[in-house]
Symmetry: C2
Subunit: 220 residues, 2 copies
Amino acid sequence: MAATVKIDQIERRTQAERTALSDQRMLDAAVALICERGAAGTTLKEVGERAGYSRGLASYRFRSKGGLSAFIIRSIGESWLRELRRVVKDKVGVDAIAAATDAHFRFIVEGSDHIRAFYMLWFDSIGPDAEVKQVVANIHERRRRDVAAWIQTGIDAGRIAPDVDIAGTAEQFCAAIIGIVYQWLVTPDAQDHIQFLHESLKRQTALVLSPAHEQTGSPT
Amino acid sequence: MAATVKIDQIERRTQAERTALSDQRMLDAAVALICERGAAGTTLKEVGERAGYSRGLASYRFRSKGGLSAFIIRSIGESWLRELRRVVKDKVGVDAIAAATDAHFRFIVEGSDHIRAFYMLWFDSIGPDAEVKQVVANIHERRRRDVAAWIQTGIDAGRIAPDVDIAGTAEQFCAAIIGIVYQWLVTPDAQDHIQFLHESLKRQTALVLSPAHEQTGSPT
DNA sequence: CCGCTACTTGCTTGTTGCAAACAAGTAAGC
DNA sequence: GCTTACTTGTTTGCAACAAGCAAGTAGCGG
């Protein structure tokens, strides 16, 4: 009887649980492989096998390599956005942006390989794969909206001048983040540099959004 | 006789000229293919054939796909750096950086597919291919040194405060450029956005480097 | 409530097409 | 003739798909 119970607890799973488990295992396997060999060097066969399944499962589940990429980006991107919003919580304006920037830095240095794999795939979205492209575009858009919303809260609270270019500043901020991430991926060990870049970004963004800062047009 | 002369003029080439010609043709073919299908979707076979040669020439000449990428990045990167220095010429400090930024914008919007393919391969350097990685790292480093040198000339001319963080600012500028380029690759049609991002970068960099601007430490 | 059978879904193995990489051969310059 | 540019033949490995196997689930008589 005890044996039966044990089997029930350990081996017996519903179909939904089975897929959830294999999804999780393949996600972890893929992340590890991408960090080791790069995204292009990672094969669906290896993902399946390292996850403890057959060579064909990753192909079957995700349909294509782009499908796997999309799945990984979606998974990690979602949890990342959730975490970010938790950190920012009810902060407003420049404080919110500063908190998000700090969180970003913390994530990419202390975060596991997941963030690294995530961004490696992110930069793969340059390619022609429409599915991956769309997923990345969505996340990117959500980020921009988040930043724009934070700026708006600052304006509402009277701590940011109302005539500031919200969308433009948000876009610029996100572009800067991407640039920093690129640096990090290329030279992951230069933690000081990465921190410096985050700090600079915080400072400059605060400067642009400060009420004292008067927006001068193009100087002559 | 005339036929012989014609053949001599058209077909007869030295060995060096032959390789130079095939290199050029394959470069153009590769650029076109990369813009059409992405870097990953471009095959060495197609590069050779579209260039008017056999399926195997690209493999033979560049040894590997990474070899082709390295060749393209080197070729375009070199001419780009040359052109950039020509534009900046004897400008100093903020003016030099502004001129370079303007040139960068002009190049990526009016420039042919070459710049586009160049940057698509650039972002591929995230991958494990050591050769490509090294080439990109070299260009990146040269860019940073150029920017740092421009800042230095501004300091020497007394138009930039001497206590400014040269290396940090240069690194930040280059990171921002990368971020902007990413945006451009993802949404190539949004020319206004790209221009805006370049203008913002110019303004912010000028702000950071302006003698009037006092460097405040981390707030609080 | 239990056990058996039909159906569904997760997963595996077989196969095809294609690209990278290399080796051996042909032709064009020297 | 001899070297060098280029071509063709071949191998290996992966993505993609298809067909089969096994584990889970639902319907029915006891």
